[in-house]
């Protein structure tokens, strides 16, 4: 019954006629920026904050906030796609390419787990963060990234569903064998390519 019932006249906040070549299958364009959090917003003071790349690497490395801010950085403009079906076009960020961080450590594994204040994790194959595909960002729309959106710093991997762009990220642990993260272990797709609509395990 519930598969067939339709609420007369309901379409949510979505506006008609928005399908463009930039919107992956099943998505709609959202002008706001919904906040989806699986836990309380952490508030780590910047003088105690650090970011590390560790695990299967030749030279594990850790950066303090000042060291992180001194790294080469770049502006990034991308569309982002949430598995809950909203897409936001032309989001503007600024941060450090993951390539820059990986170059310093000498990677020896094929996968990574991004780990975060509050305990959130997400897993990625290294191929999905190398070659200009991922950044560690601290600026959104020209201003410091707000805490509810992952500030001070979040991972940005815009070619995959946005749950992979882990908020409050504190480091990347390079691993040999893939391990599912917070949502990947609860039925969401291990990789999450929106263009192949890889929302759930088995898609």
């Amino acid at each position: 019954m519930s598969d067939r019932f339709v609420s007369r006249g309901f379409r949510g906040r979505r506006q008609p006629g928005e399908a463009t070549g930039r919107v992956p299958p099943g998505q709609y364009v959202e002008s706001g920026f919904p906040v989806l959090s699986a836990g309380p917003t952490p508030h780590m003071p910047l003088d105690r904050w650090d970011f590390s790349v560790e695990g299967k690497v030749e030279r594990p490395r850790r950066w303090t906030w000042n060291e992180f801010r001194a790294l080469p950085r770049q502006p990034v403009t991308k569309d982002i796609h949430c598995v809950t079906k909203w897409t936001k076009l032309d989001t503007h960020w600024e941060g450090v390419a993951v390539d820059t961080l990986l170059a310093e450590v000498g990677v020896r594994g094929d996968y990574l787990i991004a780990f975060c204040d509050g305990g959130y994790t997400t897993n990625l194959p290294l191929d999905d963060v190398r070659g200009g595909k991922a950044w560690i960002v601290d600026i959104y729309e020209g201003r410091p990234l707000a805490p509810e959106h992952g500030g001070p710093v979040r991972l940005l991997v815009p070619h995959l569903y946005f749950w992979k762009s882990a908020k409050w990220v504190r480091g990347l642990r390079i691993i040999e064998k893939d391990e599912p993260g917070f949502w990947e272990s609860l039925g969401y797709h291990n990789r999450g390519d929106p263009w192949q609509e890889q929302r759930y395990s088995g898609d």
Partner: protein, 252 residues
């Protein structure tokens, strides 16, 4: 009536809108006829699910406003949120004859029934009044004399939901007191509170701690957290304070 006990897994079912009633400029009560309804307890809620033609779904929880004594008719009172996805549909679009998919009744924790006794302290912000009104209506329906104080925060007199009914029930001599605070605008000659609920107001309004009241607090998250921590600060037992946050909204 004891909740749903072991009737089986809670499932989605359809209710038919049989009546709607505008309560305030932003809120509307919707009465649904549920063809199969086990009855509900004051304070319980339902999950409402809307489905668009392309299969897109949105789900929200709404407190039941009607008392348990209303049989198979369930009334929800919904506030239209500025940026809402479900509430604008329920308040502005839904009409008599439409069907709504819902799941319930839900919740045994945020519930009050007359045999639980009192005194009762009910604190509401905005649409947080809804589950507390189910408790008040139930109390009236069973003619309970449990001493009850309601502290109700609204932006203006026009936005006080159930204003007339609360005035009537407060005047009927059964021991219900209603204290309003109007935070943005007040009628001429208003001598009541005109600010958001704070610890000083609660010190004046709440039952003395040695009466060991049961407290139910419902409304926007910021109000609920301020009230709950203030009550604890005043010496009320945390275990006798139950909260139902409705989520962030604009300031109240």
């Amino acid at each position: 009536m004891a909740g749903t006990a072991l009737l089986g897994r809670l499932t989605w079912q359809l209710g038919e809108v049989v009546a709607t009633h505008t309560e305030t400029p932003r809120t509307r009560s919707i009465t649904l006829e549920m063809h199969s309804w086990p009855g509900h307890r004051p304070g319980q809620h339902v999950d409402v699910r809307l489905t668009a033609a392309d299969g897109y779904q949105a789900e929200r929880s709404y407190s039941i406003a009607s008392p348990s004594e209303a049989g198979t008719r369930v009334t929800l009172t919904v506030e239209r949120l500025e940026d809402g996805e479900v509430s604008p549909y329920l308040v502005d679009e839904l009409r008599v004859g439409d069907r709504v998919e819902l799941r319930g009744p839900i919740g045994g924790y945020f519930v009050w029934e007359a045999p639980m006794g009192g005194p009762l302290l009910l604190i509401a912000g905005g649409s947080g009044i809804v589950p507390l009104m189910a408790m008040i209506r139930h109390r009236a329906a069973v003619r309970s004399a449990v001493p009850t104080r309601l502290l109700y925060s609204s932006r203006s007199p026009e936005e006080v939901i159930y204003r007339d009914e609360l005035a009537r029930l407060t005047a009927d001599g059964t021991g219900l007191e209603t204290i309003h605070t109007l935070t943005r605008s007040q009628p001429a000659g208003w001598s009541g509170y005109r600010r958001r609920i704070d610890v000083e107001m609660l010190r004046e309004v709440a039952w003395p701690t040695d009466r060991h009241p049961q407290s139910f607090v419902c409304g926007p998250t910021s109000l609920v957290e301020t009230v709950a921590s203030s009550l604890v600060m005043l010496g009320h037992e945390a275990s006798r304070i139950k909260t139902e946050r409705f989520g962030p909204t604009g300031d109240r």
